[in-house]
Symmetry: C2
Subunit: 209 residues, 2 copies
Amino acid sequence: MKEKIELINHLKSLLPKCGRMQVKTFQKGDNVMTYLAKRNQICVVLNGVVDLVRYDASGSKAIVERYRENDLFGEAFHPVVTNNELFVVAKEKSEILQFIYDDLEEKCNKNCKTHTVLYNDLLKLTILKTIDQNIRIELLTKTTIREKLLFYFSYLSINNYGKEFTIPFSFTDLSDYFNVDRSALMRELKHLSSEGFIERNGKYIKLLY
Amino acid sequence: MKEKIELINHLKSLLPKCGRMQVKTFQKGDNVMTYLAKRNQICVVLNGVVDLVRYDASGSKAIVERYRENDLFGEAFHPVVTNNELFVVAKEKSEILQFIYDDLEEKCNKNCKTHTVLYNDLLKLTILKTIDQNIRIELLTKTTIREKLLFYFSYLSINNYGKEFTIPFSFTDLSDYFNVDRSALMRELKHLSSEGFIERNGKYIKLLY
DNA sequence: GGTTGTCTGTTGCAATTGCAACATTTCTGC
DNA sequence: GCAGAAATGTTGCAATTGCAACAGACAACC
């Protein structure tokens, strides 16, 4: 994760040399995507939280993904392939670094060295993004809520949190991420407690296995 | 999609100039990943089909992902972050292009131009991979099987197949991709038929809405 | 040509989950 | 410090889904 931050900083220092790049600040509720022509746009969250939101035919709202500090998003990764309406909305005040991928190629052919480094950075960041996505996919492909929870706990546990940790999200956010009903998630947590798999106090979890 | 094939071919032509690269042939059932040191390995399927397989604690097998021609996979995208056992197994005879990402940086610093192009290719391919992943995630976050089917139909429909098309996978594979029970998927297809949303004959589908 | 294996198609039943509705607690802004 | 909003926690009930267990169609292989 430290690597990711270094990469972002590196990127920030390089992009001015490459031409097109801008940092914009969005207030809570602002629509993020419409501010630039929608042509292979790439965005980086410098700070804040933005949601990728879907409105179904029925008009109901669902959070497809949530991007936080140092996350990548944008049309380049999310082209319109279905008749779903996708929007990116700032969940809180957020600073976003934006540029258009195609511009990188067209513009600064003068400075090849910079380009090599730039592409390398972007590649690494994109790979880090696919890693996050893979984890999410593996979690989503667990059949039961219990399996999802145990997978997620195992993930937290291995990433240097040990057998005890505090869940870094709200349960509301977590149920979104798991794509399950929040009350069903709470219920399953209770079952895991009563069956002796975990000890829980709010977001504090202790694995007993 | 044509772009993807061009990129792969381009990559194949470039990599020899960059040093470390190999093409290996695997027979059905072979384990693919163990053939190279597991350090930021990147693989490209030249032809054939390979499965990313997970074995749970209970020993049951699940296909997490399936990679086909021109798909990228490898440790670089799938580091070990949980206590799950992941394997990559050839589903049929397959040719795989393999190289180690870190080598790209260490080795050919002599030829900067090639590197720029190489990184650019890899970046584009990786972005194409994230697009596939995003589609899968959006599909997986649909709550009901019906919604998943309609989303998938809409995807097929928009990608130049029109209102009539033939599903390019077996229903067994499709239920894996949807992460739902196959019989439940068949049942929902029947409901969609009887309620007049679709007309179906085997894998041929006609949308009536 | 027959055998074996995979894929399709169907159904009953049990289980998990989503939904709705509510009370309680915590957080946030003024 | 208060008011309103957001998050947590709980429960009953209905609905969707997974599971198991089939039978038949199709394909591959010797």
